[in-house]
C-alpha cells in the first residue's frame, strides 16, 4: 500500500511538471515570436515561422522612421513620463503613508478606510470630467496633467502603509526626537533611507503602470511629438504600415522589451510586492 501511494505521487508529480511546461510554452511563445519577428524582414516573415532571430532590426527601424514614426522619440517621451511619475508617486505616497502610520491624529481610521475606497474607484468615473476641467485650465496636451494627479495615488499609499506597518521603528523615531531632529527631518533623513526596499518596489510598479498606460494619455495628449510608446502602437495599427510586418513587430518589441529587462533585474522585488498589497501581516 505504501508503494502504491508513492507511485501515485510520482505520477502526479510528472503530470504537474507536464502541465507547468505547457503553461510556460503558452506564456512565452507570443513574446518570443514578437522578439524574433522584430528582427526579421517582411519577406522572411511571409515565408514562415522562425524561432531564431534574424538581422533586419535596423532595416525595420528605418522603414518606420521613413514613414514618420519616431520610436526613439516615443521612447524618450515614455521614459520621461515614467521617471517623473515614479518620483512623484514614491515621494508623496511614502510621505502620506508614513504620516498615516506614525501619527495617531483624529480621523486616522476614517482616512485609512477612505484610501481603500479610493483604490476601488474606476478611472471612468473621473476621466471625462477631468478632461473638460484640464482643457479649461489649458492643461490638455500637457504631461503635467498626467503627473500631478499622482501626488494623490491611493493604491501606492495603501502599499506604503502596509510596508511601514511591517517596519519596527518607534524606538528609532523617539531616539531621533531626543536628539532634536524635526518631524520632517526624521522622515527624510532616517525613515526614507531605511524604507528604500519598499520605495524601490513601489517605484517599479509606478514606473510600469505609467509606461503601460494607454487610456489616459490617449485622451489627454494630442500632438504627435508628445506621443508615448503605447500611443505609437495605436498608430502602428494604421493602414500606412499594413504590409510592413517586420516594422510593426519592431515597434511593439520597442515598447515591451524595456519592461522585460526591468523584470529580469527586479523580479524578486516585483513578485514580493504583489503579495504585500493583498495579504495583511
Amino acid at each position: 500500500m505504501f508503494n502504491n501511494y508513492k507511485l501515485n505521487t510520482y505520477v502526479m508529480r510528472a503530470l504537474i511538471y507536464l502541465i507547468l511546461a505547457i503553461l510556460v510554452i503558452i506564456t512565452i511563445t507570443p513574446i518570443w515570436l514578437l522578439i524574433v519577428n522584430a528582427t526579421r524582414s517582411t519577406v522572411q516573415i511571409q515565408q514562415g515561422i522562425a524561432i531564431i532571430p534574424s538581422t533586419h532590426a535596423l532595416e525595420n527601424y528605418n522603414i518606420l522612421l521613413g514613414r514618420g514614426l519616431n520610436l526613439i522619440q516615443g521612447f524618450t517621451n515614455s521614459l520621461f513620463l515614467a521617471v517623473a511619475s515614479t518620483l512623484v508617486t514614491v515621494y508623496f505616497s511614502m510621505l502620506t503613508a508614513y504620516g498615516l502610520v506614525v501619527y495617531h491624529f483624529k480621523g486616522r481610521v476614517a482616512f485609512n478606510n477612505f484610501i481603500v475606497v479610493l483604490v476601488m474607484i474606476p478611472t471612468q468615473l473621473s476621466i471625462i470630467g477631468f478632461y473638460q476641467y484640464m482643457s479649461k485650465l489649458g492643461l490638455t496636451d500637457n504631461y503635467a496633467a498626467l503627473i500631478l494627479p499622482l501626488i494623490a495615488n491611493a493604491s501606492a499609499v495603501f502599499f506604503g502603509r502596509q510596508y511601514f506597518e511591517s517596519m519596527v521603528m518607534y524606538d528609532l523615531i523617539d531616539a531621533a526626537r531626543i536628539d532634536g531632529a524635526s518631524e520632517l527631518g526624521i522622515f527624510h533623513k532616517i525613515m526614507m533611507p531605511l524604507a528604500v526596499p519598499g520605495a524601490v518596489t513601489m517605484g517599479i510598479f509606478a514606473f510600469v503602470s505609467s509606461w503601460n498606460n494607454f487610456f489616459t494619455p490617449f485622451i489627454m495628449i494630442s500632438s504627435k511629438e508628445k506621443y508615448t510608446l503605447p500611443m505609437l502602437v495605436q498608430t502602428l495599427r494604421g493602414d500606412v504600415y499594413r504590409t510592413e510586418y517586420g516594422s510593426i513587430y519592431l515597434g511593439l518589441a520597442f515598447t515591451v522589451v524595456p519592461i522585460i529587462i526591468i523584470y529580469a533585474i527586479f523580479s524578486r522585488y516585483i513578485v514580493s510586492g504583489i503579495a504585500l498589497g493583498a495579504v495583511k501581516e
Binding site: 505521487t9 510556460v24 503558452i26 471625462i128 495599427r237 515598447t255 522585460i260 503579495a275 495583511k280
Partner: protein
Amino acid sequence: MNLANLKRNYYGYLFLAPFVIAFLIFGLYPIYNTVALSFTDTTIMSKTSHFVGFKNFERLFADDIFMTAVKNTWLIWILNFIPQLGIAMLLSIWFTNSRLNIKGVGIWRTIFYLPNLLVPAAVAALFFSLFSYYGPVNQFVVRAGFIPEALQFLQDATIVRVLVVFIQWWMWFGQTIIILMAGMTSIPIPLYEAAMVDGATSSQMFNRITLPLLKPILIYVFVTSLVGGMQMFDIPYLLTDGRGSPRSSILTNNILMYLKFSSSKGHIGAASSVGVLIFVMTSLCALAIFYFLRDRDQQSQ
C-alpha cells in the same frame, strides 16, 4: 499618552496635506464634474450646455448598443475570471503542497507573471498581428495540415471574443497565483498537522481549512478583478478596429464611452453618463461580493 505626544500627532495632518490637496483638485473635482456633466447635453465644441435631467441615462437604456456593451463586458470578464481563478488555485495548491515538493516554484511563478507587466496596447496589437490573415498562426495551422486554407480569425465574432478572453487570462493568471500562494502560506501549518492526525483527507483539509481562511484574499482577488474587468479598454480597443468589431462582439463599456467622447461633436455629457453608470454597477457588485462572502462566514462561526 502625554501632552507632547498629543500635540505631535497634529503633524499627521501636515504629512497628509499634499495628498489631500492633490486629491481635491485632481480627484474629487473631476468626479464631481463628470457626474454634473452626465446630467447635461454638453459637447466639446459647444459654448453653452443645458441641464437635461436623466435624459442621457434614459437614452442609454433605450439604446441597444449600451446593453450590448454591458453584456460584452460582463461576459468577457466572467469567462476569463473563472479559468483564471481555477487554474491559479490548482497551481497554488500544488506549489504549496509539501508532499508533492514541486521544484523551482519561484521560477515558474516568475515566468507566469511576466505577461502581466507587458504594455496591454502592444499585447493587443501583437495578437492582431499573430492572428491576421497572413500571420504566423494561419501559417502554422495551414502548413501543419489542421485546416485546408487560412482563416479570417479576426472577422469571426466568436473567435475574437475568445481571443480577448484568452489574452486577459494570459495576462492575469500569474498574478492570481502569487496572491493566492501568499494567502496559503500565511495559514499556520499546525492547523494542517492537527487535521492530518485526525485523519482528514486532503480535500477535507482544503474545504475546511484552506478555503475559509483564504476568504479575505479571495474577496480581494474577486473585487480587484471585477473593478479592472469593468474598465477593460486597451485589449478590445486595439485587437480590431477600435469599435468592437466584428458585429460589436468586443465592444466594452469603456469603448462605448470613448466612442461617445470621440464622436464628431464630442458628446462629453453622454460619455459621462456611461462612466457614471459603470461606476454604479461596479460598486453595487463589489458591495454584493463583500456582503455575501462576509455573511456566510459569520453563520459558520
